[in-house]
Amino acid sequence: MIGCALLVLGIAVALVLNALRDSIVFFSTPAMVAEKHIPAGKRFRLGGLVEPGSLQRGEHLAVSFKISDGSATLPVAYQGILPDLFREGQGVVAEGALDPAGVFKADTVLAKHDETYMPKEVADALKKQGHWKDDYGANAGKKSGDGGKSMQGASR
């Protein structure tokens, strides 16, 4: 009896969660944005990797970069302090809206990190041996926000 009740409850919850799938996702990727035709001015969160080589810094902490998910890319403009983990190739989530020109105007930028943890020496050694899959250190740039602290551009 209890088992049946729990089973029914479990199915109900699964159906609810499935119906709410669109609102539970924390961010949309550029490909999802293209698919959903989100109108200009509607707020949403855009997530993906900062495309290497796309980061440009302007006056007064203004930055522009591109967010890519491998199949689609969207240009992003932002003004403010970026989180420590922000760098090219890093996963980020930006909150804001598209402007009529198709540029995503972000008012918040959050950094994501992946589930890999290793000491810096191990990461350096892996890179030296050529076992590092992506562009570790290749795209390290200077950040305006943190006094030019050196960055390691590593992420998946």
Partner: protein, 243 residues
Amino acid sequence: MTLIDLANPTRFLSLTAKVLPWLAGATAVLLIVGLYQSAMAPDDYQQGATVKIMFIHVPNAWLAMFVWGIMSVAALGTLVWRHPLADVAAKAAAPIGAAFTFLALVTGSLWGRPMWGTYWEWDARLTSVLILFLMYLGLMALWRAVEDPSRAARAAAILTLVGAINLPIIKFSVDWWNTLHQPASVMRMGGSSLDRAFLVPLLVMAIAFSLLFITLHLAAMRNEILRRRIRTLQMMQAGRPTV
């Protein structure tokens, strides 16, 4: 030694009185070793020294879910097997689980600010853990709201089993939906993605926190048994005709 032998509260009290000092000692030793190893762990290649928050945050988060799992087994014990100590175990576990969940939320928040750039976001993992915390509080309120212990136990057991639906949602939220929180590092397909330098202190801390829970839980169960005996004595006292 089976669960049936433990069903007698008096035997439970005498047995735990012997075991508790050893458990407390083992907890203290492992906590000291784990904290020392955590402090000595190297910096992470991308997170720097903030990775050390993990050694506190992750055991708290695991225990937050583990305790609800224990309470779910106890709830079955109450509803199905009518084990006399099951509702004592469930009632004693709730405040401890709530404390672990609260610490997981606070340490996660303090970790999120430097790494993600925010204390709180309504992503699926964070929200589902907040719901777990609120359910712990609701469960504790329910235990207190019903005066008769056996009726309170049945109501709480049903709420506990309903709340158990949340456990797989918490665990798999990072796989099912886009979240700000990263996917699992230790308990995942294809082995841990944690370097040994972080994995060893984390596992020591996890064992230490589990022992801490068992110690606190047994002590809280003893208190609950004694509290019920006092209640029974008071009822008998009140029922006796005064001279």
